[in-house]
Structure formats: C-alpha cells, structure tokens
C-alpha cells in the first residue's frame, strides 16, 4: 500500500480520466437524488435543456422573457457541467482509494484451508470456530488467533512493511490476518471472522468508499444544506409572481440560473469528497478507521490516554542497579533476581539477566522443567518468578511482592519502602525481589523518556486535549516521568479495571476519551473509549474492540488521527461558509440583470439590451456587460469554483493548534470574508471574457 500511497501526487492523469468516466455514470438521477443540492442542479439542467430545445424549434422562451436561444443553451450547458464537476470531485476522491483497493484485492487469496481434522475447504467458506493449519509458504486463509505454534509472517500485503513479523500462540501477538503469508514454521489458527467480513474485506470496502456511510456530522450538515436549498427554491418560485406584480418578465431559464447560483452547490458538490478524502488521509497514515463516526469523534477528543511504555518512554527499561536490603549480600540478590528473570522475555527481564552477569559474573543457567515451575507475569498479580529446588523466587511491583511475602508468613522490613521510594524518586522503576518469606532487595529499572515528547504534549494542550499517562508503575515513579515528559496527568499502578474506570469517569464528566492499546486486557478499555486505536500487532480481541487499527502499531499516531478528524470538520465548515457567502455577489449579478428595467420612469419597459433603464440597475455594482452576460458569468463562476476547490477538499484545510478563538477568526476571515469578496472579482473577470470577448 505504501507504493500506492506515497507518490499519488494528488491527481495523476490516468486518475483524472477514470474520474471523468465515473462522473458521467454518476449523472444517473438515482445516484444524484442522494445529494439534494446536486439533484436540484441536475433537474435545473434538464429544465433549461428542454427550454433551449423548445426555442431551437421556434418556440418562445418558457415563461416569458425574450432571451435568445444561445442564452438558454449556455445556461443549460454550464448547469450540466456543474453536476459533472461535482461528480468528478467525488470520483477523484474515490479513485485514490481504488488503487489501494486493487493491490489489496490481489492479496485476497482464494486459498484452500486445511482444517485440523484433515478436510479441505475453500477459504471463503470458513466460519468462526473453524481450526486450520497453515504451513510455511502458505497464505493464511482468514482472520483468527494462533492457538498453537509460532511462525514468522509476511504482512506486507496489508501493512506495506516488508520485514516479517512473529506471530505466536498466547500473549499479545496471537492475531493473524487473512491474506498474509506464513514464511517459516507451522501454526494452528482458530478462525474468528464471519465469511466475507474479514479484515481485508473491510479494508477494501473502506478505501473504496463502498462501505462509507454518512457520519453524524455529515448528516447534520446535509440537513442544513437541504433546508437552505428548500428556502432558495421558495425564493425563486415566489420571485415569479413578485416580478409579475412589478410588470417584469422572468423566464424559467433565468430563474433556474438564479436558483442554482443560490443553493449551496460548492459544499454540496464537495461534501462527500471531503469525507472520502478524510478517510483516505487516515489510510495513507496506515490507520484503518472501522467507522466514520470514530474519525469525526477523534476531532473532539478531550482526553488522551497514553501508555507510558513505548509511547512516552523508550520501550525498554534497563536494569541499572541491585539494591539489597540490610544483611543481604548483593550477590545473593543478583542471583535471585536473575533466576526469577530467566524466562522473562521482556526487555526488562533480559536486562536484569544481563546486569547480573556484568556486575557479578553470574552466568545464565539452563533450568530444566522438572526442577523448576515458572510463574508468568500477569496484569493481576503484577509479578513473575520461579519455584526451583524448594525455593520460591518472586520479583515484581513493590506492593505486589510485599503482599506475597506477607502471605508466605514473612514481613517486609520498613527499609524496603525507603529503597523503593529512593528508586522512584529518581524516576526509576523499582522491582522488589523476594525469596520465600524473605524480602531480598530492589532492582532499579531506568526509564528513558523519548525525545520531543514535551513539545508534542504542549501542542496537544493548545488543541485543548489533556494527556494522561497510564502506567503500572507506582505513584512516585509515575509522577517523576510524568513531570519529565510534560503530560497533564497520570494514572499510576494501573490495572485494566482502573483504566476502564478512568475512561468511564472522564466520560461521565462529558469528555471524549481516546486511547491506544494492544493487549487482550486492553480490550474493555478500547471498547469503552470513544476512539480506541488498536495496534495491528495486538491481539484479535484488541483489534475487534477498537474502532481504529494502526497498521504501523505506533502509539503516537493518535495525534495525527486527531488532526485528521479536526481537518475534516474544518474543511466542511470552511466550504459551507464560503458557499453561503458567495450568494451575496451572485444576487448582485443576477437580480439587477432580471430587474434592470423594472420601475423605470415612463412606461415599464421590458428587458432589452440596454442595461441602464430602471432604478434597480444601480445595484449592478460590478458593472456587468448585459443581463445575459451577467447571468452566464454568475453560473460559470458557480461551476468553476467547484473544480478549483477540489484540491482543498481532498487535502483538507490546514489545522493549526492555535486555539479555537484564533482559528475561528482566521477561518472566518479567509472563507467568510474571502467568500464574500472572491465572487465579485471572479464574476467580473468572467464577464469581461463572456461580454468582451464573446460579445454576449
């Protein structure tokens, strides 16, 4: 996907041709009716075309007036073009996704699944609960969880990352995706997807825009636009009897032109393109939003929960020192700590083994299973260890190990607290080590805060987002690192329950919460959060619970997701404002044209070539050439502004974290005032060409 994503410099030539074709197919009224604004334009195009044909065959202009046939033709032509431009915008946005979808589709193997019981089944018929075996060199037939074995898997089809990843049973790296390929070894996979609803299927639908449903805010905006369209329809329909009362002819073609100029065609034409492009921007950042609602919500996030490890600090904490309690030789502590860490594959565990070897020359030992029972780390017990030769060794969080020692009948000396605190105060993570009922001492793990985090958090703060660091560390350690990294708050000694509780509390106060997670124990919190970004390396449970998946598994990605969400809303708001502000100039172009001769001194003349007869002609502020050229210029401007704004719609209005007040002022100035002024200039320029060059 990276190849597809990287060099698509906005609008390649072939893509434009493809979009042009699609835009003609989209002229089907059954497609247009979904967008009330553009549907009205299409109906207007049909009406003006009929009016032109009537005139072509010698009829009078529909509804009075004396405009020539070429006028009706020109209006009809530009109205059709307006609809086509709207379609092109949407097709272009979809086209960018199509290229990605095609490369994904080629990965969707029509592989044969080998069930565990030896039968074979087409991959498309797999059901949740089926258990399949995948050997080296075979494609994985569907999404699932590894229940046996370990293998290196090529996931480049979905992530674009060519380096293979390890997938193994148990733990947080057990999820596999259909369409990826096993490179070595053999795994047994339990299928978790419904047929036809695999991750890959959803991804294809997503980037193609096929599964795109209107998001809540988009629906609200559509209601606003439909309301405006309705009121302008009433304005134009009632204008006819009004004009008649003032002895003025207003032909159907003129009124349709006025209607189309007034209704918010700019935003109406670009609205769905903005939405598709927003999703696309996420996909380019290798984030899959499983619902548009989540993308929008990400712009509203008030609180960001960030795991300390890997996000704020470098993933691996390093053991820095052994701090034995009084009366315990350091050698003994180091030995116990190393033994308890031998099966601990985390970077922390490895670093303890290494430190013991470096400082005390204790070699790694092979522990044979019969003599040793390993106690793995869990989020609940928050410690791990080994039972060997009648000795029971434990290492883990201070209070967890203390509780264990007390349960064993021993008691932790007061000195332990001093040691633990000492390490915490220095910003390190203390691990307590105990043997049976005796507390031996503390291992000092050092945490390293990533570079540039403080600036990132400052930026988030100015966006109005509070950051909360979540960590299993004790309060002191957490406070030290929180201060160093510059987060607003922290949750120390976090269990999955505490995390979930924190999210619920924040939500009860009306805040929207985002978080990232990968483990199965993160799943409830991911599901509870308004925006839950699951790491692609995470478990199937986590990926199901979140509403976005980050294929790069990069926890700081949330910041970019928030920006995309905000951009989406800003672009909609800016173009809506622009579209509405445009109407003022269009009124000043079209109304003086219709009523140029109304209330003129002497007899009420009709609309002729002289554009200077009645009092309302004074409102021809732009001094446009003739009534015909004025109306045509307004319609041409109205049409051309759509393709001119397509790049902005696809790229999104730039978001700057400068606070709401400054941003509102800025956007009001650019899109409000700009929208007021731009069409005066644009229509005048077009009129110079239409009237001056073509003599209309």
């Amino acid at each position: 996907m990276n190849e597809a994503a990287a060099p698509t410099t906005a609008l390649g030539r072939s893509m434009v041709f493809a979009a042009a074709g699609a835009s003609l197919r989209k002229l089907d009224p059954r497609v247009q009716v979904r967008n009330p604004v553009m549907f009205v334009v299409e109906v207007g195009a049909v009406v003006t075309t009929v009016a032109w044909l009537v005139q072509l065959f010698g009829g009078a202009p529909l509804g009075g007036g004396d405009e020539p046939a070429w006028f009706s033709f020109t209006v009809a032509f530009w109205l059709w073009l307006t609809v086509v431009f709207g379609n092109v915008a949407e097709a272009l946005a979809e086209g960018r996704g199509k290229a990605q979808a095609d490369s994904l589709r080629s990965a969707r193997t029509e592989a044969v699944a080998h069930l565990l019981d030896g039968t074979e089944l087409p991959a498309s018929e797999l059901k949740p609960g089926d258990v399949v075996v995948v050997e080296a060199g075979e494609g994985i037939p569907g999404d699932g969880t590894v229940i046996e074995g370990i293998a290196s898997v090529d996931e480049s089809a979905i992530t674009g990352e060519s380096a293979p990843v390890i997938r193994e049973s148990g733990g947080d790296r057990s999820a596999v995706t259909g369409g990826t390929r096993v490179l070595s070894d053999r795994i047994v996979v339990e299928i978790t997807q419904e047929p036809g609803a695999s991750f890959l299927d959803r991804m294809i639908a997503l980037v193609e825009g096929a599964a795109r449903r209107k998001t809540p805010n988009e629906i609200a905006l559509n209601i606003l636009l439909a309301g405006l369209t309705l009121i302008f329809l009433a304005v134009v329909v009632t204008l006819r009897p009004f004009a008649e009362f003032a002895d003025t002819d207003a032909s159907i073609v003129t009124l349709v032109a006025l209607l189309v100029a007034l209704i918010p065609t700019t935003i109406g034409a670009l609205l769905s393109a903005i939405g598709i492009a927003g999703m696309d921007r996420l996909v380019r950042r290798n984030v899959l939003a499983l619902s548009g609602r989540a993308v929008e919500a990400s712009g509203d996030i008030d609180v960001l929960l960030l795991d300390k490890t890997g996000t704020i600090t470098l993933g691996n904490r390093q053991a820095a020192a052994f701090l034995p309690l009084r009366g315990v030789p350091e050698q003994e502590l180091a030995d116990a700590a190393q033994l308890a860490s031998l099966t601990d594959e985390t970077p922390e565990g490895r670093s303890i083994v290494v430190l013991a070897k470096e400082q005390h020359g204790i070699r790694e030992r092979e522990l044979a299973a019969p003599h040793a029972t390993f106690v793995p780390f869990t989020a609940e017990t928050r410690m791990s260890g080994v039972d060997i030769g009648g000795r029971r060794l434990r290492k883990g969080a201070g209070d967890a190990v203390r509780a264990w020692v007390e349960a064993e009948g021993g008691r932790a000396p007061a000195e332990l607290d001093a040691r633990l605190e000492e390490v915490s105060r220095e910003g390190g993570t203390p691990l307590a080590v105990a043997r049976d009922s005796q507390m031996l001492g503390v291992v000092h793990l050092k945490d390293v805060v990533k570079e540039g985090m403080r600036e990132r958090f400052d930026q988030l703060r100015s966006m109005g987002i509070r950051t909360v660091m979540v960590t299993g560390d004790n309060r002191l350690t957490a406070a030290k690192i929180a201060a160093e990294a510059g987060v607003d708050d922290f949750l120390a000694e976090a269990t999955p329950e505490a995390k979930l509780g924190l999210i619920r509390d924040q939500q009860a106060e009306g805040r929207l919460v985002a978080m990232t997670g990968d483990g199965t124990n993160d799943a409830p919190a991911l599901a509870q959060a308004d925006v839950g970004v699951a790491m692609n390396t995470g478990t199937q449970a986590a990926r199901e619970a979140g509403n976005m998946v980050d294929l790069d598994s990069n926890p700081t990605k949330l910041i970019e997701i928030v920006e995309v969400g905000k951009q989406l809303l800003i672009t909609r708001g800016a173009l809506t404002t622009f579209s509405i502000a445009n109407d003022v100039a269009k009124y000043f172009a079209i109304l003086p044209a219709i009523f140029a001769a109304t209330y003129a001194l002497g007899a009420g003349g009709d609309m002729g070539d002289s554009f200077t007869s009645g009092p309302l002609d004074k409102l021809n502020l732009m001094n446009l050439g003739t009534p015909e050229s004025a109306i045509i210029s307004a319609i041409i401007f109205n049409a051309l502004v759509i393709p001119m704004l397509v790049p902005l719609a696809l790229r999104g209005v730039r978001y700057r974290p400068i606070g709401a007040a400054a941003m509102l002022r800025r956007n009001l100035l650019i899109y409000g005032l700009g929208g007021l002024v731009a069409p005066f200039l644009g229509i005048k320029l077009i009129d110079l060409v239409v009237h001056g060059v073509f003599g209309a």
């Binding site: 109005g464 004074k618 009001l668």
Partner: protein, 586 residues
C-alpha cells in the same frame, strides 16, 4: 439628523442597559422559585392558583408534556376570545352599541391576540366594545405574553439541564410570569399613563360641537390599563386605531418615553435572565449586544432615511432641510409633530425589532430606505429582542445555527454551553428558523398574484408590494404593525358598524400565518430544548468555541443578516429598495 434626536436615542439606550440586569436577575429568581420582594404579597395567590388548577409547583414536565400544556392553554384562550368577539352584541359595557365582528375578522383578530401578534384589521374605537377590549383583548395581552416567557424559561432549562428531561412546569411558569412580572409592572405603568393623561373610563364617547361648527364623536374608554400591557407584553394592539400616535394613548413626551422603554424592557431583561440561569452573565450579554447592534443599525438607517426623504419627494421639491426655525426637515408625512423624526424612527425600529407592533407614526408613509428597516427587523425572524420570551428562544435557534457553522470551523463537533449540536437539533433549528420565512414568501406570492388577494392591496407598484409583503411579514413573524394600505375589514361609517364586512381571504390567510408563525418556532424550540436536556455537558477547554466574545457576536450577526438577506433580498428589491431608488411616483 439633530443632536437632540441622538441624545433622545442615547438616553433611551442608557436606561435600557441599566434596567436589563436588574429586571433580568429578578426574573431569574422568580422562575427558579427563589424568594423575591413580592413573595410575601403574592405567594398565597400563587398557591391558590395551583390548587385551583390542580398542579404542584414541584412536578416537572418533559418537553412533550410542556408543549401539550402550551397548546391546550392556547386553544382554550383562542376559543374564549373568539366567543367573546362573536357575541359582542349581547354583552354589557358596549355604550356605542357595536355589533359582533364578522366570523372572518374575528378569526383573524383572535389568532392575532392569542399568538401575541396583535395585528388589527379592525379599528378599536369603531369595532370593539369595552367588554371585548378589557375581558377579551387585554386578557390575551397578558396570557400570550406569559406563554412566550414560560416557553423561553423551559428552553433555558433544557440547555442547562444535566441529563434530566424535566423542563419545569408550564402552569407554574405561566402563573409566575403573570403574577410576579407582567401584572405588577403593568399596574405601575397604567397608573403612570393615567397621570400623563391617557384616558381610563367606562363612559361612552363624547359628542362635542367643534369650533368649525360641526359635531364630532370623541372616542374614550378604559385605555390606560390596556396600553401598559400592550407595550410591556410586546403585543402592540392599540386601544384606538392609530395606536400610540393618538394623544389619548400617548399624550406626552414622558409617556412616549415610558411606552417605548416598556417595549424592550422584558425582551432585553430576559437576556440577563438567561445569563443568570446558565450561570454566565457574559453569555447573556453577548446575546444582548448582538441584538443591540442590530437595533442600532436599524435606528440609524431609519432615522437617516426619513431625514433624507425619498428621491421622489426630492424631485417634487418637498424635502426641506432643517431651517433652524424649529423644523427638522426630512420626511414628515405621517409623523406626529409632537414626536418628530428621531422619536418616530426610534419607535418604529424598536417596535418592529421587538415583536411589538405598536406605532407612534404611520409606517406606510415612510420612505423606501426608512421603511425597509421595520420590514427587515421583522423578516429577520423577530429575534432582535423580539417578543417577550419568543424573541430570545428564536434567537437561541439562530445561536445554534451559528454555533454549528462556526463549530465546524474550529474542528470540533459543534457544541453550545457544553451541549453537542447534532443532526436532530439542526433539523429542528432549520424548522424553527426557516418555516416562517418560507411562509411569508409563499403567502405574499399568493396574496399578490390572485384576484382574492388583490382587493386588499391599496397602492400599486413597489408601495403596493411593500404593503403586502409587510402584511404577511408582520403576521407571520407575530409583529402586528402594518403598512396601513392593506385591508381585511371594510367598515362603512355607520352607527354600530352596520354594513361592515371582512375580506375573508386576507383574514384567513393572515390568521393562518399568525398561528403557524407562533406555534411552529415555539414547538421547534421546545423540541430542541427537550433534545438538549438529555445530553451531557462537555466541560469547556481551550479547543472549545467561545460563545461569549466579540468574534461570536459578529458571527451571530452575520448569520442572522445573511439568512434574512438571502431569503428576502429579491422581495425587498421590488418593494422598499426599488422605491427608495426611483423618482417615479406610484
């Protein structure tokens, strides 16, 4: 324009700004059931009312229940008034022996007073008995005003509610509006007006010999008591046909000042009530300033327009400039010399900004530019202060619209005072803000293009168009003032109104416009409140759009003006603007 004129206007505004927080905070206390200075006096009466109608002050209603109560109460009020007007001939206190109003005129007048519009196709002193005026019309002046205030308070409760669907109790809000706000101020106002010379009597009309030798009837009646509330409750329906330009309704400069203060007193103060109830006085002031700016522009344009006169007057050599000998110059047609241009245009702008509709000059005689202000003030939806209660809840709908557009531009799902504005609210806001403009456009078109409508139009050309647009703009937006040329009731000058008849088409169309114009936005606002009530309040942060600063005020003004301008620009062009630009006489 004279220094004297501007000083009058400036003094008026100073008084208004000073009274707003005082009365506003008082009303907030009244509606939240806190003790106020009148409590010892009125609490027993209040409790008696609740017992009589079988309600309990504590029992709240959700928006549907609240709306039902409003509709039931208004329907009963409507029936009562209609019966009174239709049986006038057999009622007491009818010294002139007026017959009952025709059914169509009664329909129009009833809808008019129940909807707080007070559009009058009839002339008070030639149609209504004292009984109809006092028991029928004056009572509705109080009740319709109280309904508007009650609904506003319910809407505010919906905005501040933390997840509860309780919007308060309609009967309680209604009772408190009447007892603690409308009645006490009206009584004081009426006494003051009597002191200035406004008539208050049940005697019949005087029959006097004039200096010229003829005989003339001089209309009297219980006017003062009705005028106080018609000003205070943004009703505007005059006791006499020419409203507050009649010396018996508005005799002195002082009475003129108090009457015009009364127009904006409650609508302005309610912004402070709002600020108090949402817990931020600034939020109230932001809305007040928005309204004030729009009002000031209106007064300025209208004053300048009347002072300059029209091109047609200019061409005819009518417009005199100020000559230093006491004449202010400008367009004095249809203006009381006692009040002059400044005071007349000030009143005209204020009475149309608020949905009051009383006048102290003839709006029909205004120039194109001077006359466009009253029209625009109404066509913006009666939200520049607007009617008591209805003005602010209408304005809140515009606030939500502005918040929606602006909220997008700061990159958050739009929210107002912590409540998210989503599809449902936008749908209701569109209904609440667009149904009336739609109605006004369509009814004006129907009236102007059919033969049934044509009989009501007095003038031709832009003036005739303006009269029609004004008639339906005024009725649809529940204002009640008129460009006088538009007729719905023909009264020959015969005793007891013999031979009079209504123009059914105009009466029905107008009555229909007033009822829709009153109850659709009202129900939309209540529904929005109901929807907002159930939502959580998101705490404000640096990323939140502020709705209490200058930027937002500007944005709100922009939204209100643009919505009205885009809807009515073509119509205004053919009416007052066209007239203001031409030398041609119609």
């Amino acid at each position: 324009m004279t220094a004297n004129g501007w000083i009058q206007i400036g003094f008026y505004l100073a008084v208004l700004v000073a009274l707003t927080p005082l009365l506003g905070r008082y009303m907030a206390r009244v509606y939240t059931g806190e003790r106020v200075v009148l409590t010892p006096l009125l609490a027993p009466a209040e409790r008696f009312f609740y017992r009589a109608i079988g309600t309990r002050a504590e029992s709240g209603q959700d928006w549907r229940s609240y709306a039902r109560s409003v509709l039931v109460f208004s329907a009963l009020s409507w029936l009562l008034l209609y019966l009174i007007l239709r049986t006038q001939g057999i009622q007491p206190l009818n010294p002139q022996g007026f017959g009952s109003a025709p059914w169509d005129v009664a329909f129009n007048a009833t809808s008019s007073f129940v909807s707080n519009t007070n559009w009058q196709f009839y002339g008070g002193e030639t149609t209504m008995s004292y009984f109809s005026q006092m028991v029928g019309l004056a009572v509705q002046n109080f009740l319709s005003a109280a309904v508007g205030m009650a609904v506003l308070i319910a809407v505010i409760r919906g905005i501040v509610s933390r997840g509860s669907h309780d919007l308060g109790n309609f009967w309680v809000d209604l009772t408190r509006s009447l007892l603690y706000v409308l009645l006490p101020i009206s009584i004081l106002g009426a006494l003051f007006l009597v002191s200035q010379g406004v008539v208050q009597t049940l005697d019949g009309y005087l029959d006097v010999s004039t200096l010229a030798g003829g005989r003339q009837g001089i209309a009297l009646g219980p006017a003062a008591s009705q005028i106080a509330i018609k000003q205070l409750g943004t009703n505007g329906g005059g006791f006499f046909n020419v409203n507050s330009s009649m010396p018996f309704e508005n005799p002195t400069a002082l009475s003129n000042f108090v009457e015009v203060v009364f127009i904006l007193l409650i609508p302005a103060a309610l912004t402070a009530t709002f600020g108090k109830m949402v817990g931020s006085a600034r939020q109230g002031w932001a809305i007040f300033v928005t309204m004030l700016v729009l009002l000031l522009v209106g007064i300025g344009v209208s004053y300048a327009g009347e002072q300059a006169g029209s091109p047609a007057q200019d061409a005819a050599g009518i417009t005199a400039s100020a000559d230093g000998a006491g004449s202010t110059g400008g367009n004095l047609e249809g203006k009381e010399q006692r009040f002059g241009i400044a005071s007349s245009t000030e009143w005209a702008a204020i009475t149309t900004a608020a949905s009051n509709g009383s006048v102290n000059s003839s709006l029909d005689s205004y120039t194109g530019v001077g006359g466009v202000v009253p029209l625009i003030n109404m066509l913006t939806g009666e939200v520049i202060f607007g009617g008591v209660g209805s003005g602010l809840y209408g304005m809140l709908l515009f606030v939500l619209l502005a918040v929606f557009i602006a909220g997008l531009m700061v990159g958050r799902t739009p929210e107002y005072l912590g409540k998210k504005i989503e599809a449902k609210e936008i749908k209701l806001v569109m209904i609440g803000t667009l149904v009336v403009p739609l109605l006004v456009l369509v009814l004006t078109a129907v009236a102007i293009s059919t033969k049934w409508g044509a009989v009501s139009i007095f003038n031709a050309g832009p003036q005739g168009f303006s009269e029609t647009l004004y008639a339906y703009g005024s009725q649809g937006n529940n204002n009640g003032s008129a460009f006088a040329g538009y007729t719905g009731f023909v009264q020959p000058n015969a005793p007891g109104n013999a031979g009079s008849f209504g123009i059914t088409f105009a009466d029905l169309l107008g009555g229909f416009a007033m009822l829709i114009g009153r109850f659709v936005p009202l129900l939309a606002a209540l529904a929005v409140a109901g929807s907002l009530a159930g939502k959580r309040i998101a705490p404000a942060g640096p990323g939140t759009l502020r709705t209490d600063n200058g930027t937002f005020v500007l944005l709100l003004i922009f939204v209100i003006v643009v919505v009205a301008a885009l809807t009515f620009f073509p119509a205004l062009l053919l009416g007052p603007i066209g007239q203001g630009l031409t030398e041609r006489l119609f």
